[in-house]
Symmetry: C2
Subunit: 303 residues, 2 copies
């Protein structure tokens, strides 16, 4: 039986990466090669113990085990470590000659629904009662970031949690399907308006892996008070879609958003509204969109 | 509404790491800080797209979804990217003044069972029929790596797949519980011997995320032909436990083990055995153990 001193093999990581076969795409080789190298470097850097590694394995298993068609814990964990915000930043970072950037992007999050109905300008998305909720009139224009001209026929897709901090998905006892969701088309002047709620801060669900991670990291699970008030998903065939969140000014969690999604230009101010019996607050929010073709190609080959 | 150009924030990763609270342990801060930094660096390095990120999220979710108490897909994925072998290497790398290292460690893998029965020296672990399987007499001594003296009362825990490439867990139709598993105690001369099978190469299960990963990476799913023939789990109160795998010489997958667990001194040679009606092959395998206290402390704080 041969003996050897088993010095740590300096070629180990290269061997793993070089095992990627010739039929893998260049992009796969790039992405997976980098991922494998960083995971190995991480393990070596901290001298990851067997027990810590096994905790990690069990943690990864627990992510999928609690996930359902309406609960994407993988996305949530990704949010908690800032990855979704980082990827979003890269995806939507548009290098323009102009000093003015299009409305900045923010994370889509696990609560968007593809099924939100189209509604008419002036409608309310508050379908189910929201005890303690303050109704606000939200209105604004969608503008071309380059020409500053209004864009007619743009679609504003809005969704928000109710005054109890829950989305319709999570709260079927109190909320009808598509409560606090709706799509609105801008008119010929590029304008939209509808009634919604002043948003409410809430905790991410802590009954799963994200909760364990918050405990481990000694972090709170809160999105900025009133965060997710609303997010806008905007689509128009000639303009790049933008997803963002807007955050009422003054929220105590603005600087410690547990998913790291706050950007300065997404902080907005609700103002008192008088003479409108449907709402007590008002928010004007204009959205700038960049025409397609104004950004450097960042599509990236599919894995 | 404020406007800004949203240049990529150079403090983003530090902000995420600095969100770790004061009650987190130093080790948690070290491990999770490094992990977050490497994941962010990976994402920036490859400019991970939103679509690729979402593929990753769904992939992570799928790991737990297919896992069961007897199927640890998280561990398997970790194996496929070489992480278990790397962690194992670090955990068991014992810096000794002697040129001679204790029997090198290798990955435990998902098929070890805590319930394997004690058997007597001379017993067979082949309980259920193994069509095409060749029975081998395995024997050897357990030795103190420093003094070279035999160790009496050491426990050798062995498990292996059957001739169809499956473990008892995976093959209840053909195999009784604890087929091809057993624990043996060394006698006063440090000797053990028992009957087992010459091992058989096999594929990792490809009906889940590991299979997707093999396809993506254009890699085969094979453990070296006959790999996992047997692994030894050795315990003795005064010596460090060692887990390893031994690999028959000449296997065509030795250099491309899909979990990267082969080490030179774990390659062994079965020889023909004559005059024993119970077995047609023989394997002598001596095991060296390091006394406790001979390695640098690598326990690592619990996360």
């Amino acid at each position: 039986m041969a003996t050897s001193s088993h010095k740590f093999d300096p070629n180990f990581t290269d061997n793993v990466i070089n095992a990627i076969g010739p039929k893998a795409s260049d992009r796969t080789r790039q992405v997976m090669g980098s991922l494998i190298r960083h995971i190995h470097d991480f393990a070596r850097e901290v001298e990851l113990t067997t027990e810590e590694w096994m905790m990690g394995v069990q943690f990864v298993n627990s992510i999928g085990q609690i996930s359902t068609p309406i609960r994407n814990e993988g996305q949530r964990i990704s949010d908690v470590i800032g990855l979704e915000s980082l990827v979003d930043e890269m995806a939507h970072h548009i290098m323009m000659d102009s000093d003015e950037a299009p409305t900045s992007s923010s994370i889509l999050g696990p609560f968007w629904s593809p099924n939100a109905p189209f509604r008419e300008n002036g409608d309310s998305i508050v379908i189910s009662p929201a005890p303690g909720g303050q109704v606000a009139l939200m209105h604004g224009k969608v503008l071309d970031v380059l020409t500053k001209k209004p864009i007619a026929g743009a679609v504003v897709d809005i969704w928000q949690a109710s005054s109890n901090g829950k989305y319709d998905f999570q709260d079927p006892e109190n909320q009808e399907d598509n409560n606090l969701r709706g799509k609105f088309r801008t008119n010929e002047k590029g304008e939209y308006h509808f009634y919604c709620l002043h948003p409410t801060a809430y905790s991410l669900p802590t009954d799963g892996p994200a909760g364990e991670l918050f405990t481990l990291l000694d972090r709170h699970p809160m999105r900025p008070a009133h965060i997710h008030l609303m997010r806008l998903k905007i689509s128009h065939k000639d303009f790049k879609p933008v997803t963002n969140q807007i955050f009422p000014k003054g929220d105590k969690y603005l600087s410690t958003d547990t998913v790291f999604a706050v950007k300065d230009d997404l902080v907005v101010e609700f103002t008192p509204l008088k003479g409108n019996e449907k709402a007590e607050l008002e928010l004007e929010y204009n959205i700038r969109l960049a025409p397609k073709g104004t950004a450097p190609g960042k599509e990236g080959a599919k894995l």
